[in-house]
């Protein structure tokens, strides 16, 4: 086995572990941190089902963002929805035989790559052009966008410019999945693409990408509006109660 194969296989396993454990740790941390007071942004749903609907609207449609700013919404939503399609399409490199619905979205998934890049270019343009957004932007915000744009562009290039030997790519991926490492294709475009993806997996748990698990734990969005009907009390706050006089 070549050095390159061992290097990338190792990096891939390492990055996947960092992603899973890192994000898993953050989710655990969010889950055990109490929300001692009821702070849903009102008007808020008064039932759990209502909260599920509210959260679905936020996660699927970005409802609050839509209310806020149509440009950020259109670019952000284009990017995220395209990303979902692209990720689902990529499942085909990790399975044999390929699930029927993954085959079904294959044609759409191909174009989604363009939509993804266009959405991101819109977002990065805003960061440069709109003075308010420029002010709040850190170098890492640009780097993150550049990273994902590069992943998108190298991906598209492999399809439309310098076609990669997709059969050996799939063999390498399946090999990783079944712990039977196969030689990695030495195509530089593919190596660049996968290096960037590994970087993305590595920074995910340490960056603002934590907004993905974070939103589900946001008390302003996930709490039921029922403080008068049901006493809501956190553990540490209950301890204070014990010292109350009446």
């Amino acid at each position: 086995m070549s050095f390159l194969t061992i290097l990338f296989a190792t990096l891939f396993y390492f990055a996947t572990a960092v992603l899973l454990f890192g994000v898993g740790y953050k989710i655990w941390q969010y889950a055990i941190t109490p929300a001692p007071l009821k702070i849903p942004t009102m008007p808020a749903p008064i039932t759990k089902l209502g909260v599920v609907l509210r959260m679905t609207e936020e996660v699927v449609l970005f409802k609050s963002l839509f209310k806020s700013n149509k440009w950020i919404w259109i670019f952000g939503w284009m990017f995220h929805f395209a990303l979902l399609l692209v990720l689902l399409r990529h499942l085909r490199y990790f399975q044999e035989p390929v699930w029927w619905w993954v085959d079904l979205i294959q044609p759409v998934g191909m174009y989604a790559g363009f939509v993804l890049v266009i959405g991101l270019l819109g977002l990065i343009t805003r960061r440069i052009v709109v003075a308010r957004v420029r002010y709040i932007t850190s170098p890492s915000d640009h780097l993150m966008l550049i990273l994902i744009i590069s992943i998108g562009l190298t991906g598209l290039a492999m399809r439309y410019i310098l076609r990669t030997d997709i059969v050996s790519v799939k063999a390498f991926m399946l090999g990783l999945l079944y712990l039977d490492v196969q030689p990695i294709p030495t195509d530089w475009l593919f190596l660049t693409h996968i290096t960037l993806v590994i970087s993305l997996l590595l920074v995910f748990p340490f960056s603002k990408l934590l907004h993905a698990p974070g939103i589900f734990f946001s008390p302003t969005r996930n709490q039921v509006d029922n403080p008068r009907e049901k006493r809501h009390i956190a553990k540490w706050a209950a301890k204070l109660d014990a010292t109350r006089k009446s």
């Binding site: 941190t33 806020s68 960056s207 302003t220 109350r244």
Partner: protein
Amino acid sequence: MADFETPELKDYIEVPLPQIGVMEGSGPFKAKPDHQEALGFPGELIDDWENVAINKLADLTNRYRGLRVFLDACVKCGACTDKCHYYLGTADAKNMPVARQDLLRSVYRYYHTPAGKFLKKFGMEKLIGARKLTEDIINEWYNYFHQCSQCRRCSVFCPYGIDTAEISMAAREVLDSIGVGQKYCNEIIGKVYKIGNNLGLPEPALADTLEGLEEEIEEDIGVAVKMPLDQKGKDILLVTPSADFFAEPHVDGLIGYAKVFHQAGLSWTLSSHASEAGNFGMFIGSYENMQRVSMRVREAAIELGVKRIVFGECGHAWRVAYSFLNTLVGPFDFLDPNYPVPQHILEVTHDLIQRGKLNIDASQNDHMTLTFHDSCNVARATRMGPKPGGQMVIPREVIKAVCNNYYDMPEDTIGEATYCCGGGGGILTDDLIEIRVKGAMPRMQALKTVVEENGVTHMAAICAICKSQFSKVIPYYGFTMDQIISVHQLVGDALVFESEISESSNESEETENEKE
């Protein structure tokens, strides 16, 4: 009028370009050692402030999930950047909600995130906008976290619901924990502990005031409307902001509550022990102080043996009452289970109107054309009635029942998108007059629109802070302070009492006779 320029009102609200440092030097007076110590905080800046502040921040992220998620999740999308009334009024870049949050987030990243801890070893913390805590940053926190009224408008528009109010409360708690407190809030909380209310009005003075008001009402309408204080065995304990006892236009609201109770035949009392609905413990982010202030309400209810608790018109007080009271000092199983605990005075009045228990003549308010200012805390942090959004519907239905002329301000400035009055969140103090005036600009802009388009003459409010703030800043924008009015003043003025009915029916007979 002052050494700053009042923003000019245009035809619509223009989003300014961000400027650096416009409001940098604007901070409130600092609390004196005795103000601090009464609340359990160090009297002045402690020696080890850096470590204590860093540890306090970690402690708060462990105690408040909201804070932790909000510090982690922001992607700097910019959706909130044009949503804050203080940014719109001052153009100071650090008054954009995300920039205000970043003052704290940068320090959190430096000390409490793996990325910050790693990058600072190479001096590369700037890459992710992380900063080492310095004395300058403490000052920056102090000034800019007292230019936030915790109104939550930004949180409505954030894709993750990040609430700058939570961040500003946490920052103020960190500051208090190292001995840097705000005089206005902390002195007032001390007064509540010592005397029972924010204004420091002792029981004899309160009793006197209420007696005076009773005389005034009787003179006015010829009916003996009572304002009972500390009377045991009544059904309702009314807890209202102490400003209602003598500030204008608040006191007319109090008279309105009394008239409603009187006409509906409800038995009620005020309490000198809980003679304050406000709870500035929320503004300083201190759960412990908020609980201690709230405790008086529970104690008064037990002591007086009431069956229900009703809160008067006050925004943040209603937030603490509606959203937190049950948590802080519940359960209220000793009260009548047929009523929610607590209730808002507007819920009571609305219900009475619906059931036809009030005798209303809306033409009494015909000399005015009304609009309504949704208080930030009521609109975005509470509810009234059984349905979500009742906090917007109920006040309007009550106003429309007692006034014939009503117009809403533009849609994007009311309801859940309402603009704060500019004086909430513990900054209703003269040492912050500049930020208060500038922060009122968006609301004033919206008011100007309905004044010009619909001939609105008065703006009704349901919050002691809104009322005080508007009365003070509205003249800067060319309006007059009597254009601010309590919702329950409108109700009180429209109520027709029996002695009046007999008088006015005589009058109408006479006029008819004349016609003949």
